[in-house]
């Protein structure tokens, strides 16, 4: 089996190589570093989707350390950057699956904008937790998008997990209530609620999401215990706005970075975590049910900057 580190590393290879090449071509150890060198470095971070503000902050921090003589080599730079990014991503709960509710089922609500991977992630999580011996139920609450319910039903059959489904165009909150009631009555450990994608700019749909959460609480007091936002690794800085706006409607307890197998680097996680302090729980690395890994801030950051870690291959 591949180690976690190598999985992250492979996922981020494309990013890492260009970034590292960039760093190495910018800085020479014999000449003092110039403002231009630092600006170039800032550009490299922006190209990893960290955003203008976060990139500038990281670079200023490095510059300050350089001026104080704390760092001197290219290797130092990479390590320092990785450290900074790791620190930002190390929010309490990062990489942890979930906190079991005092009274099962633990209800996990998956939310996000359109096409980010909610349904697929629901199936992946169901698969993972069932393998851990937990009793999992899926709720298909995307009653809007054509065949979204069928999609989850197919997944349920594939990973062998029960699915509570509503009729197309029925009230998603009612389906969620149904599912929560059933999950409680049938002694499930976990209920995974898949919701329709929505742009945070659409007030009616955001209100609908709030209603889903409140309705779940009626069936299972205290639920949803976890609300996770799927973040597409290929999306740019709008991901920060997405996280901010969703968290206003349903307090987010976790992020899932999806499609990290593509060339998108998921760099937006850095400004998101910096501003909102939401832990990243899992990373999606493909379209199969097994393509999910617990998130590791240090691996992510190190792979991003290709720093050797002791004990890794």
């Amino acid at each position: 089996m591949k180690s976690l580190f190598s999985i992250f590393k492979n996922g981020l290879q494309k990013t890492a190589t260009s970034l590292v090449r960039g760093v190495q071509s910018v800085f020479t150890e014999t000449k003092p570093w110039t403002a231009e060198d630092f600006e170039h470095l800032e550009g490299l971070l922006i190209q990893a989707d960290l955003g203008v503000v976060t990139a500038a902050e990281l670079v200023n921090d490095l510059k300050e350390r350089y001026d104080r003589g704390k760092i001197a080599t290219r290797e130092d730079i990479r390590r320092a950057m990785a450290e900074d990014v790791t620190k930002i991503l190390e929010v309490a709960g990062a990489g942890n699956p979930f906190t079991p509710a005092a009274k099962p089922p633990t209800v996990v609500l998956l939310v996000g904008v359109n096409g980010t991977g909610k349904t697929t992630t629901a199936a992946k999580l169901a698969h993972l937790w069932q393998q851990d011996g937990l009793k999992v139920m899926l709720a298909a609450c995307d009653t809007f998008r054509a065949a979204a319910v069928e999609q989850l039903v197919h997944w349920g059959a594939r990973v062998n997990c029960p699915v509570v489904a509503g009729k197309p165009n029925s009230d998603p909150a009612a389906v969620a209530f149904d599912a929560a009631t059933r999950a409680r009555n049938e002694g499930m450990d976990i209920l995974l609620v898949d919701t329709a994608g929505r742009q945070h700019t659409r007030k009616a749909l955001m209100d609908e999401l709030g209603k889903i959460a409140r309705t779940i609480a009626k069936a299972c007091p205290g639920a949803p215990h976890e609300v996770w936002l799927t973040v597409d690794a290929g999306i740019g800085t709008n991901a920060v706005t997405q996280a901010r706006e969703f968290s206003k409607i349903v307090p987010l307890t976790g992020l899932i970075i999806t499609k990290l197998d593509g060339t998108g680097r998921g760099g937006s996680l850095v400004p998101i975590c910096r501003e909102l302090r939401i832990p990243v729980r899992f990373a999606g690395l493909g379209e199969r049910e097994t393509d999910l890994q617990p998130f590791r801030p240090d691996f992510f950051a190190q792979a991003l900057f290709e720093v050797k870690v002791t004990g890794s291959p």
Binding site: V113, G117, E150, V153, H200, G236, N238, G262
Partner: protein, 465 residues
């Protein structure tokens, strides 16, 4: 969240315009701001750099430096360049063959299947074409069902195969079916794939070779980040795309990916997706996209959108009324009824800068609008023309007639008054427009003391999508 570029330009040039001179250093500073605005909009870093390089030269030229309003002149140069880069003539779809075959390709979740449905609807409605939708995504669970559901909803025939995993076979079958049905257009919805997945990209090459499509359309999420360049470049190199469709512009991503993709492929952006419903597909307007990317006010699209939905003459009349501040409740009612037919009253209200308060105050939903309609109907023609006539007596009569509390009538009138004030501000702006419908490089329009919301494309269709 974003400072508007024009605001920043304003700051940079404020002192200078007073002195009437502009130095190269000021231009440099302005260019840094432009670069930053582009990067904040997620324009690819290298693309942004090249772009800024190309406008810098022109900004350093006489016209800008000598201008009485160099700041505004510079904004105009930037905007014009960006529009040119994004635009070119609006290239229509190639319908030359029968069936004309269109393939939709792109990353996972970009909106291909939804867009396939939207495009079919558009071609049937606008171009009176018979369309066949073919489900060629054999990978994603229920992808075939998704196409079939859309086909049923739109009443457009679909072609699907559940007996094979060979996409080329499906595509050939779809073409045969299109011939049999005598379809004008065949739309192939394909599975999402990463641009770096060589096997799957090769599969598309085989599909292309098998059917010789008229259009290969790259469907891309408008919120894509820096990697948009790589996505577009790879797909274009392997397949030679003929056009781009940007999706999810109803979100608030500034959409710098549009520039990146356009820049590396040179192919036209043909449509934009502005929602999840089948009607939410619109022609692409480079000038609006430019404003959106730069974060500038977009009064042009406001006027165009209005003009599309109102009769043209009437729209001129409306402009005139807004200018003269004589827009009355009669006009409001007649627009209300028209807009209601379009199903987008709320979207329309959003188009009028400054109407947010009016709308929020009314707490408008479609039902509330019926109330408003009822109240206005309860007024005499004279009262509608001049709501100031509504004294206590008249107000009571209107309230009784329309079955609402007096307070509600008062509220409507006072909010209408507010709205009209704001509109007269807007009318002033309209007056400054040149005949081609463009604003001269003007300072950002100030209405009710605040800037017009720049993201006019963010037209929300409330209610159930």
């Amino acid at each position: 969240m974003f400072e508007k570029l024009t605001d920043r330009f304003h700051d940079i040039f404020r002192n200078l315009t007073g002195r009437g001179a502009l130095s190269e250093a000021n231009i440099e500073e302005a260019m840094r701001e432009v670069r930053r605005a582009l990067l904040e909009a997620d324009v690819n870093y290298k693309v942004a750099k090249e772009f800024v390089e190309s406008v810098r030269q022109e900004c350093l030229g006489e016209k800008v430096l000598r201008s009485i309003t160099p700041g505004q002149q510079a904004v105009k140069v930037v905007n014009d360049h960006l529009t040119a880069l994004l635009g070119g003539a609006n290239e229509p779809l190639n319908l030359a063959a029968k069936p004309a075959i269109f393939i939709l390709i792109g990353l996972q979740g970009s909106g291909k299947t939804t867009t396939a449905g939207k495009l079919a609807r558009l071609l049937r409605g606008r171009d009176k074409k018979d369309v066949l939708l073919a489900a060629c995504d054999l990978k994603r669970p229920a992808a075939i069902d998704q196409i079939e559901v859309l086909g049923r909803e739109l009443d457009i025939p679909t072609y699907a195969r559940r007996d094979t995993q060979d996409v080329v076979e499906v595509v050939r079958g779809a073409r045969a079916e299109a011939s049999r049905l005598n379809s004008d257009v065949l739309i192939l919805d394909t599975a999402g794939r990463l641009q770096i997945d060589t096997d799957l990209v090769q599969e598309l090459v085989r599909v292309k070779d098998a059917v010789q499509p008229q259009e290969i359309l790259l469907v891309a999420d408008a919120a894509l980040g820096q990697e948009a360049v790589s996505v577009a470049e790879h797909f274009n190199q392997a397949l030679g795309i003929t056009g781009i469709i940007l999706t999810k512009l109803d979100g608030d991503a500034r959409g710098g990916a549009a520039l990146s993709i356009r820049h590396v492929t040179g192919r036209p952006i043909k449509f934009i997706g502005t929602g999840e419903r089948m009607a939410d597909l619109e022609a692409f307007h480079p000038e609006r996209m430019a404003s959106r990317i730069l974060g500038m006010g977009d009064i042009v699209s406001l006027v165009e959108k209005a003009a599309e939905q109102f009769e043209e003459a009437e729209s001129r009349e409306l402009e005139e009324k807004m200018r003269k501040n004589s827009f009355d409740l009669n006009d409001f009612l007649s627009q209300l009824r028209k807009i209601k037919n379009m199903g987008g009253i709320l979207a329309m209200l959003d188009l009028f800068p400054g109407t947010k308060k009016f709308k929020d105050g009314l707490n408008v939903d479609e039902n509330q609008l019926k109330h408003v309609e009822g109240i206005i109907c309860g007024m005499t023609a004279a009262e509608r023309r001049d709501p100031e006539l509504l004294n206590a007596n008249r107000t009571r009569r209107v309230a009784q007639g329309s079955g609402v509390p007096v307070q509600e009538v008062n509220d409507l009138v006072s909010r209408f008054r507010m709205m009209r004030e704001m509109m007269s501000g807007l009318g002033g702006q309209l007056g400054k427009m040149s005949p081609d419908g463009r604003l001269p490089a003007a300072p950002p329009p100030q209405i009710g003391g605040r800037h017009i919301n720049p993201i006019m494309m963010r037209m929300r269709h409330r209610g159930r999508r």
